[in-house]
C-alpha cells in the first residue's frame, strides 16, 4: 500500500477503483514525415474508423436511451466532417511534413482553446466534444483502444491532474464515488464542486498522483486528506469498517437538521449556506441551513450572451425568497469583473484583475446594470426575508452611493405603486482590509457585515490564492486575520449590528471555535459543512472560547494557534 497526502477538499471516505482521467490526454511529439501522402492516407483511415465507431455508438445510444441522447454523436460526426478541422490537419501534414498525430493535436488545440475561452457554457461544452472526437482519432492513429468517459460502468474514483468545470459537469454521480487531483487548493473550482456534490475529494495531492495505475483500489480518506493506493485485504477491511462508521456518523448528524444552533453554554448563533445557483437552495434546506448567508448572483449573468432582464432576475430572487421564507436570504449584488468576465459587456482588460474595477466598483460605474438588479431585488422583497449585501467596498463613499441608488429605486417603485417588503436589511461584505480596519466608520451605516475571508486573506497577505507558490500565505488562522475579524465584530457590536462570515473559513472546524469565541453571529458555509459545524458548536463553551480566542491574538503564527485550538478540542490541558 502506498499512502499519499493532499488537501481534504470535501469530507467523507470513499473506496473504489481508480479511473484515470489524465490518461485521455496524450500529447504527441512533433515529427517530420518523408511521405506526406501516406501520412494523409493514414489520417483518413483513422477518420473513417472513428466514423464507423461513432455511428455505431449513435445507433446503440438511440436504441437504448432515445434520439435526444444520441444527438451528441451526430455532433461528433459533424466534427469529423468539419472542413476547417480536417483541411487544416491535412494541410499541416502536406505542407509542413508534420506527422498526423501532431497535426491533429495542434489543430484540435486551436479550436479547443478558442471555445474554452468563450463565456458561454454551451460553447465550452463543445470543446469537450472536440477533445472527445480528437481523442478517439488519436487512439486510432496510435492503435490504442479509446477510453470513454460516458462509458463508465462501475463505481470509481476519478484520478486527474485537475478537474475543469466541464469535467465536473460530466461526472456521472451514479458511479463516481470520489476524486483525487494533482493540483488545486480548498478554494479551487474542483474542491468547491466536490463539496456541493457532497462527494469525498482530495485535491493538490502532488505529482505522486501520476503513479496511480488504472483500476487500482484507492481509499480516499477525505476527512484527513489521506489516500491509500492498493491496500492489502486486511487494510481494505479496516477502511471499510472506518467508512461504515463514518457514514453512520454522517447519518447521525441528520438528527441535528431541524434544530437551532446553540453552544454548550447556551449562546445561539446562525448557520447558513452559501449558494451559487437556484438548485443549491434545496441542498441548503436538506442540510439544515438556518438561512442563506451568501447568494451569489453571478449565475444570472454568466453563460449567456446578454444581460439578464429585470423580470428574469425578479423571478429567480422571488423563487429563492419564497423557498426559504421566513428564513433570511442574503443576496449579494453582482460581483463580476476581474477574473470573472462577461464577454457581452466588453469590459476593458486590466493589468491586475483582482485590484481592478470589480463588483460594486463596476456597478457604480455602470449604474443602469446596477439599478436593474436593485429593482428586481426590491420587487422580490415582499416574498420573503431579504437582506441585500454589497461586495468589494473599500471606502464609505461607495457604500453611501450604493445605498443612495437603492433608495432612489425604492422611491420610484413606491411611486409606481409596487408593494415592497417591510424591512429590508442592507449590509456589506468586509473583504478589503481598508474596510475591516475602518469597520467602525461603516457600522452606523449598515444593518450587518459579512466577512468574506477568501478575498480578505488574499488582500491582507497580498497573495493570489490561485498561485500555488504563495499558497502557504493563505493562512486563515493568522493573528493578523483574527485581529481584523475581532475588530469588525467589536465595531458592529457597538452599533448593535450583527456580523456574519461567508468565506471558506466559516465552515472550517479549526476556525469555528475561534470565531465563536470572537463573537461571530452568523456562519455561512457550503451546505455539507453545516451539520458537522452544528454538532461541533454544541460541544463548545462560548465563554471559555472567548478567552481562548483572546489568547490566540497575541500568538506569533498560525501554527501555534491551530495547535492550541486542536489541543483544547482534544481535551488536552494546554494551559495550566
Amino acid at each position: 500500500m502506498t499512502t499519499l497526502t493532499g488537501i481534504a477538499a470535501s469530507p467523507g471516505i470513499a473506496i473504489a477503483r481508480a479511473f484515470l482521467l489524465s490518461s485521455e490526454r496524450f500529447i504527441p511529439v512533433r515529427q517530420s514525415v518523408s511521405d506526406s501522402s501516406t501520412e494523409i492516407a493514414r489520417f483518413r483511415e483513422a477518420v473513417a474508423s472513428s466514423q464507423t465507431e461513432i455511428e455505431s455508438l449513435r445507433i446503440s445510444t438511440e436504441e437504448r436511451l432515445g434520439a435526444d441522447k444520441a444527438e451528441i454523436f451526430e455532433g461528433h460526426l459533424m466534427i469529423l466532417e468539419d472542413p476547417d478541422l480536417i483541411d487544416a490537419i491535412e494541410l499541416k501534414i502536406d505542407e509542413d511534413t508534420m506527422n498526423a498525430e501532431f497535426a491533429l493535436y495542434e489543430t484540435a488545440q486551436t479550436f479547443i482553446e478558442l471555445l474554452q475561452s468563450m463565456d458561454d457554457e454551451l460553447l465550452r461544452g463543445r470543446a469537450v466534444d472536440i477533445e472527445d472526437v480528437c481523442g478517439r482519432l488519436m487512439s486510432h492513429l496510435r492503435g490504442i483502444p479509446h477510453m470513454d468517459l460516458a462509458g463508465m460502468s462501475e463505481e470509481c474514483i476519478i484520478v486527474a491532474r485537475d478537474l475543469t468545470p466541464s469535467d465536473t459537469a460530466q461526472l456521472n454521480l451514479d458511479y463516481v464515488r470520489g476524486f483525487i487531483t494533482e493540483v488545486g487548493s480548498r478554494t479551487s473550482h474542483s474542491a468547491i464542486m466536490a463539496r456541493s456534490l457532497e462527494i469525498p475529494a482530495i485535491v493538490g495531492a502532488g505529482i505522486a498522483v501520476q503513479q496511480i495505475a488504472a483500476h487500482t483500489i484507492v481509499v480516499v480518506d477525505a476527512n484527513q486528506g489521506i489516500l491509500h493506493v492498493n491496500p492489502t485485504d486486511e487494510e481494505l477491511e479496516a477502511y471499510r469498517a472506518l467508512k461504515q462508521a463514518d457514514d453512520k456518523r454522517r447519518a447521525a448528524l441528520g438528527r441535528l437538521k431541524e434544530l437551532p444552533t446553540f453552544s454548550k453554554d447556551g449562546k445561539q448563533v446562525e448557520l447558513a449556506a452559501n449558494i451559487g445557483k437556484l438548485e443549491d437552495i434545496q441542498r441548503a434546506i436538506d442540510n439544515g441551513a438556518e438561512g442563506i448567508g451568501l447568494f451569489r448572483t453571478e449565475f444570472l449573468y454568466m453563460g449567456r450572451s446578454s444581460l439578464p432582464t429585470e423580470e428574469e432576475q425578479f423571478t429567480s430572487y422571488k423563487y429563492a425568497l419564497e423557498k426559504m421564507n421566513p428564513k433570511p436570504v442574503v443576496i449579494r449584488t453582482l460581483d463580476i469583473g476581474g477574473d470573472k468576465e462577461l464577454p457581452y459587456m466588453e469590459l476593458p482588460k486590466e493589468s491586475n484583475q483582482f485590484l481592478g474595477q470589480r463588483a460594486l466598483r463596476l456597478c457604480l460605474d455602470r449604474q443602469e446594470l446596477f439599478r436593474t438588479q436593485l429593482r428586481a431585488l426590491l420587487r422580490a422583497s415582499r416574498y420573503g426575508n431579504l437582506k441585500i449585501m454589497f461586495p468589494m467596498i473599500a471606502v464609505l463613499e461607495e457604500l453611501l452611493e450604493a445605498k443612495q441608488l437603492l433608495e432612489e429605486e425604492k422611491q420610484r417603485l413606491l411611486a409606481e405603486g409596487v408593494e415592497l417588503g417591510e424591512h429590508i436589511e442592507v449590509g456589506m461584505m468586509v473583504e478589503i482590509p481598508a474596510a475591516a480596519i475602518a469597520a467602525d466608520l461603516f457600522a452606523p451605516e449598515v444593518d450587518f457585515f459579512s466577512i468574506g475571508t477568501n478575498d480578505l486573506i488574499q488582500y491582507t497577505m497580498a497573495a493570489d490564492r490561485m498561485n500555488e507558490t504563495v499558497a502557504y500565505l493563505y493562512q486563515p488562522w493568522h493573528p493578523s486575520l483574527l485581529r481584523l475579524i475581532r475588530f469588525v465584530i467589536q465595531a458592529a457590536e457597538k452599533e448593535g449590528k450583527w456580523v456574519g462570515m461567508c468565506g471558506e473559513m466559516a465552515g472550517d472546524e479549526t476556525a469555528i471555535p475561534l470565531l465563536l469565541g470572537l463573537g461571530l453571529h452568523e456562519f455561512s458555509m457550503s451546505a455539507g459543512s453545516i451539520l458537522p459545524a452544528r454538532e461541533l458548536i454544541g460541544q463548545l463553551d462560548q465563554t471559555a472560547w472567548c478567552s481562548h480566542a483572546t489568547n490566540t491574538l497575541s500568538m506569533r503564527n498560525s501554527q501555534e494557534i491551530t495547535q492550541f485550538v486542536q489541543d483544547i478540542i482534544k481535551g488536552v490541558t494546554h494551559h495550566g
Binding site: E74, M78, S305
Partner: protein, 86 residues
C-alpha cells in the same frame, strides 16, 4: 458574389442547434459561404468555426456567398439566420 446582413432574432442566439442546421444546409450548396460576425469571417460550412463566433441574439451577421447557386443559397441561409429555433 452576393452579400447581405441579417439580425439574429433567436432568443438564445445562434448556438449549437441552429448552427448545426445552418452548416448542414450550407454544405448542400456548391458555392463558397462566408459568415461575418463581430468583425470575424469564417467558413459557413464548418460547424466548429461557426461556434467560435458565439453569435448572440440581436447581433448582425453578414453572409458573403460566391459561386454556383449563390442567390438561392443566400435566400435559404438568410431565412435560417433570422428564424426562431427551439
Amino acid at each position: 458574389m452576393v452579400s447581405k446582413t441579417f439580425t439574429i432574432l433567436n432568443p438564445t442566439g445562434f448556438h449549437v442547434r441552429p448552427s448545426k442546421t445552418f452548416v448542414q444546409t450550407a454544405t448542400t450548396f456548391p458555392c463558397k459561404v462566408n459568415v461575418i460576425n463581430k468583425g470575424k469571417k469564417v467558413n459557413g460550412k464548418s460547424s466548429l468555426s461557426m461556434l467560435t463566433l458565439g453569435i448572440a441574439v440581436n447581433e448582425e451577421v453578414t453572409l458573403e456567398i460566391d459561386g454556383e447557386q449563390e442567390e438561392q443559397a443566400l435566400e435559404t441561409l438568410g431565412k435560417l439566420l433570422t428564424a426562431i429555433h427551439e
